[in-house]
Amino acid sequence: MPAATPFVELRESELLEAPLRIEGEYRRPDAATLVREVRSPYAETTTLADGRATIEREGRSPRSFPMSRAPELAGLQASFGALLAGDHEALEGAYAIGAYGGEDGWTMTLAPRDRALARRVESISLFGAGDELRCIETLTVEGEVQRTLLGAAAEAADGAGAADGFLALCRGGAGG
């Protein structure tokens, strides 16, 4: 897996006029660090390392806090980070894993073991093909779904603004 991969996310919220489309890049500069860099519609870099999250925003001094305060970040590190690192043991430790599918399209579902994360996140599904991870789908306990398109899927999402287009890209129907 590459050390850097582009992503596209569609954030839906009742508070917003329209879903927020976020683009950027996930990077893994070393085995223990995961960086999420947002480029559009604003610039923000989140670094997860050593149990702490550091957020850098334009024109602000960086903020840093323990990841335990935001279980979602810890979950991201433990799922996506571990997957990128190929650290099966870390993944197994944090989640109950289910996997199905084949070479040309596979799905891996992760059910969080950590209580704090489990209070918010029902499951995380990873969709991919071959050795490429295409999409992360997070299902909250309230039933909301957040999707992050990665790699080729993210590149293919250039035109897709609507949620249903995202769903198709995520599940690998289009552009796969």
Partner: protein
Amino acid sequence: MSPRTRLAFVLLWLGLLVVAALFVSRHLHLSGDLRAFMPAPETPEQRLLIDELGDGPGSRLLLMAISGADRETLAAQSRALRAALADDERIELVANGSEAEAGLEAIPERLRPYRYLLSPGLDQRPLGEDVLREAIQDRLQDLGSPAGGLVEPLLPSDPTLEILTLAQAWEPASAPQRIDGVWFDRAGDQALLLVRTRDAGFDPAAQAGVVGAIEAAFAEAAGDSGTGLLMTGPGAFSVEIGGRTAREAARIGVIGTLGLVLLYWLAYRSGRLLLAGVLPLASAALAGIAAVTALYGGMHGITLAFGFTLIGVAQDYPVHLFSHLRAGEPPPATARALWRTLLTGVVSTCIAYLTFFFSGVDGLRQLAVFTVVGLLVAALATRFLLPPLLDPRPGDAADGRRVRALAAAIDAIPRPGRRAGTALMVLLAGAAVAVAMLAPGPFWENDLSRLTPVPEAALAEDGRLRGELGAPDVRYLLAVQGADVEAALQASERLLPSLDALVEAGAISGYEIAARYLPSAATQRARQARLPAPEALRAALDAAVADSPFRAGVFAPFLADVQAARQASPLRPADLAGTPLDAVVPGLLVEDGQGRVTALATLGGLEDPAAVAAVADGAGARLLDLKETSESLVQAWRGQVLAALALAALLLVATVWIALRAPHRVARVVVPMAFTVVLTLAILRGFGVELTLFHLVSLVLGAGLGLDYALFFERTGSDRREQLRTLHAIVVCGSMTALVFGLLAVSSIPVLRAIGLTATIGVVGNFVLALLVARRRADPAQGAGA
């Protein structure tokens, strides 16, 4: 009376005592609060310690660690334990880190608008368009982050996330890591919990109740999972040490009792005398307890323990009677003949103890009442109740073969003439005083905790847990005073920058002070005054939201909250009931009788007390050293006890003088006792023992015993057979006392050893000296060639 009737009466007496004991044990309220044994406080620090705190908040903490299973199991047990303890009345606070899960939900709805008065977040910049525009852009980015779900529900009412600013300000800087939502140590092997009790740390009875409840709750939570609970903290230690002391004392009591029975049997070969001999002492104890309970409504645990030690003298009274019985004289006549001597001893001891009554210390007053009543009852029982119940044709101790051999051996000891003897005594006494005064090392031990030392390993565990949990220091506290709560809070607020600077400089790792959670009303009003009026805020908000992706009208709850905050009356400590802060703030604001309030700051990870004290002085606060304060109390206490003892000694000599009315007779009685006191001090000090009040009280006991020995020896004159009886009596008395206290003297627990050692030296010294000084030599006409 027939033997059968006499036995019936003895059993009746015994039966009545058993009934009375049952009644007393049902109704006896034993208090464990050591403050009853402290003198009236004089300095402000002492007053704070005694009257108000009862103890520092830090010493009411119990630190706990669960270990011995995987993390999930440990976390689950930590949760179960917390749930079980949360409803316990005796527990003010139980925390395991899971409180953060409830997070903001734990703050009642009605108090949420107060965030604008409690949080310092908007102190620098007013809540205008700029701040809101920035906040809204930030919130958009928050929404777009993986943790967006966390902040989303907060946004409509709180776009500046003031509630999070507040939560962060409240979160202790050095909180342990959370695994599975609960606190764990750094290695992740132990789930950590914290309990704060309502009752003082130095109330062993109350602490025992809490420790018991925690252990029971843990046993329930742990089931058969094989996990273990480690509990440290002052309360846990006092309970453990108290238990160990009680167990050791009980073991010594059993061995001692067996030894006493054996001694009685050897001395009198009579089961009935053994039975009868118990009665005066038992009656004395019950009468003493009844008197104290009637006067004070309860009794202190220490009074009971000390009191039993002191009225142990009463066990000698029946022995004197039994040993002086003789053929041809009915026991009541023997009792009458002994009465004057016995009474002199009892009355002078009682007068000595009465001085405790004027010590100004409640626990000592109880002790005086208990001892005086007990000794009088024992003496009266020995004089009037016991004799009619004894065999009217008794044996004669003077016929004993062993006592005759002993007397002969004693008489064979060469003794110096009167003049040389006096010179020798003066010389020895001078040497003893010199040793007592000049022995290296401090004379007094003020740190009472050394008498009941906590094992090193347990202390190390406590230090480790304290570090992991960031728990406050037990010894030091910052105090700042005000005329009322508001003034105290304002004074604390002025202290906050200094405290933050101390944290920055590493002198402390953190602190807790009420003003950190609850600002003064003045500060709250100032914040209120800075909040914009509804129209202005609406305009600023509309402008800030206009070009953002947020829907219009989304922030209506925010406008309502700010308006509520503008109109609210400032939050006071009393309003905190039912919030998480209720467990923290009231304990840090202490009100004295006159309405003055002291705000306390507990300090975590205190590295540099001197630096903290300097900063505190500059900021109008005081660094309290609770250890030093309690030691100064002990010193004051000792001063009063010593004054009482000096007076007691004078009164005692006066009483003996009135009874004997001849200088040389008085000298014979008083000299052995006085000499033994000096000798005991010299021996203890010579072996490097630092003296405590336990030594002092035991010294008094030894003196009381010695007085009796000397009085009886002195009374006997030179009648050979009477001398033998008295010798018999005092050998029995002395060996019984030496046996009991000798067992205490070899105890592993310093407090028991202090009592045992002092009393044993006193008994042996008094016995030997009374024998040499007070006892006259046998009449050569009757003597056996000495």
